[in-house]
Symmetry: C2
């Protein structure tokens, strides 16, 4: 079987995909000729469609329905059929409008970005916060809470803040804490969290630091307080997909909502995107996650300088409006990158 599609079959396939994207109904041969200015008879189109089905680009839900694009068809569509389009002006403005840092914390900014993505795309917005461990430590601080509880605050280069409550055996004074944090800030400045972890271990082994019991304690303490959280994920606009006819049945719905409540697997998927810079698209089953059947993900990485910080994107049905959403995701990633630029 030659996988070489003629120009005409490509046109027809494209017509079917685009029709299906808006209607969500199986597309018949007649509709193709009617709604798209092809000067061909339905019968001819039928022949072509039969070929396309055999090649795996189309599927028929049953004998006498029209045809529906397969994942393979969407893949072809985004890879070669779809030209590069620009972001529409109003969309660009809506995205820009949301881009401001001042008066918020990083978490909020990303959360809002996710909400914005969902509202612009009408699907679900998703943003994965910078993986803290890959970040450079900027500042560390101990604050004494009541009792033996100490609050440890870590600030990363990109301005995100993590804090942790640690219970200690010793009762440190505020002064102790100041001394400890000064010492550690000096010791650890400019290292990534991952490096910090190693550095602490080294230093603890190293006998020469033992001369000061307090500093030795400091090492222990900071060791405990390194973040072990998995990256934060913001998913917004889940109710948008309730509107989609393909998820109208309750069983399917349940599955999806369960999947998104358990964010772990999703993170796994998105972490893959961290490696590949730029736009990344998973269509339906391509993601190897059964819960993602019928869903596509469009992501892009955002970064400062040449440090990849995180991933953001849109999740929608496989029949999502790729032509519109891809540029949106791309543009948003660029804007967020610029926003987080800390020189």
């Amino acid at each position: 079987m030659r996988d070489n599609l003629t120009e005409r079959s490509k046109q027809i396939l494209e017509a079917i995909i685009e029709d299906y994207i808006v209607t969500a109904e199986p597309v018949g041969s007649r509709t193709v000729t009617r709604r798209h200015g092809l000067s061909l008879s339905p019968a001819t189109v039928r022949n072509v469609m039969a070929d396309l089905e055999e090649m795996g680009f189309l599927a028929s839900p049953h004998t006498s329905a029209g045809r529906v694009p397969t994942d393979k068809a969407y893949r072809l569509y985004v890879d070669s059929l779809l030209g590069v389009r620009k972001v529409a002006r109003e969309e660009r403005e809506e995205i820009r409008k949301h881009c401001s840092l001042t008066g918020k914390d990083i978490g909020e900014v990303l959360h809002e970005t996710s909400r914005m993505l969902s509202s612009v795309s009408h699907y679900m917005g998703i943003v994965v916060a910078p993986h803290f461990a890959a970040n450079v430590l900027r500042h560390l601080e101990f604050v004494k809470l009541g009792g033996r509880r100490i609050l440890v605050i870590l600030v990363s280069q990109s301005g995100s803040v993590q804090n942790k409550i640690v219970e200690t055996a010793d009762d440190f004074s505020s002064n102790d804490l100041v001394r400890m944090s000064n010492y550690l800030n000096e010791l650890l400045a400019g290292l990534t969290i991952a490096q910090v972890r190693n550095r602490l271990l080294e230093e603890m082994e190293n006998a020469k630091t033992r001369y000061d019991a307090l500093l030795s304690k400091a090492l222990q303490l900071s060791q405990q307080s390194l973040p072990d959280k998995d990256s934060e994920v913001f998913i917004e606009g889940q109710s948008n997909i309730l509107e989609l006819p393909e998820f109208a049945d309750v069983g399917r719905m349940k599955e999806i909502f369960r999947a998104f409540e358990e964010k772990g697997q999703l993170v796994g998927l998105l972490d893959q995107c961290l490696g590949a810079q730029g736009i990344n698209i998973f269509i339906g089953a391509e993601s190897r996650l059964s819960q993602m059947a019928g869903l596509s993900v469009i992501t892009s990485t955002y970064m400062t300088g040449r440090n990849t910080l995180g991933v953001l994107g849109v999740i929608g049905p496989t029949r999502m409006g790729y032509a519109k959403v891809i540029p949106i995701v791309d543009y948003t990633a660029k804007m967020v990158s610029r926003l987080l630029e800390m020189e």
Copy 2:
């Protein structure tokens, strides 16, 4: 119409409610006699049921179905029919298990609490984080990010941390920032955030501080960085309510999910509970929110000392297992209160 129910009608009403809570199906006269050891004939029960309907405790979906409790019935049920019950041992253990502070930040703790509430109750767990403004400031810190951006970190007495990025006109050195934060920490220690706000205004008016330009700037800066966020809400277990038959239809689902995506109104409802200490119950339409039709909320405040910190609870269908959930919410609130006790 005497609203005085006889002992017998109360028993029957209770039987109907409890049956409906587990089955979610209209309850017929026959079922009442069968499943609950009442030595009465269905016919008698029917008469009583007719009375109860007239009094507004029951409703019939249609002529030949059984009857369904109204909000009024549930209200009577929780207020007078329902005895005080203890938390089951396994539940108590599951709640305890989740109660640990160390190695987490306050946000995480509350988030997990919400998740725990949902998993123990099988409905939705909800936790409103302490309203920062009502909290006492413990510590304030400025961290220089790139450019003219400064990260302001506020720590409250209860150990919760807020941070904010502020863009400044002046380019402060790290030393400046240390000096500024020392000054402010001294000035503001022990005040609630609300008081801090006032104090800053006073101080800024006050000419005597003007002798030091830097400190004057510090006041401005900290003023900008006071939190204006509305309180954070953690809602977990939304997929639990997908299991409930009464929400099986897609339209109803959509409404609910939309409502919870827009957390604002919910916060309004929960803020009312902040005033009344202890358990608080809204049944169905009582909350005056149309989106809450068919849903009940059980909340309790949590606090340290005699400072109310926030609200937590469970949202479920009006036919929720009150007998089980009320003690759970009560117990959880107590545990969280104890957990956050910072002496």
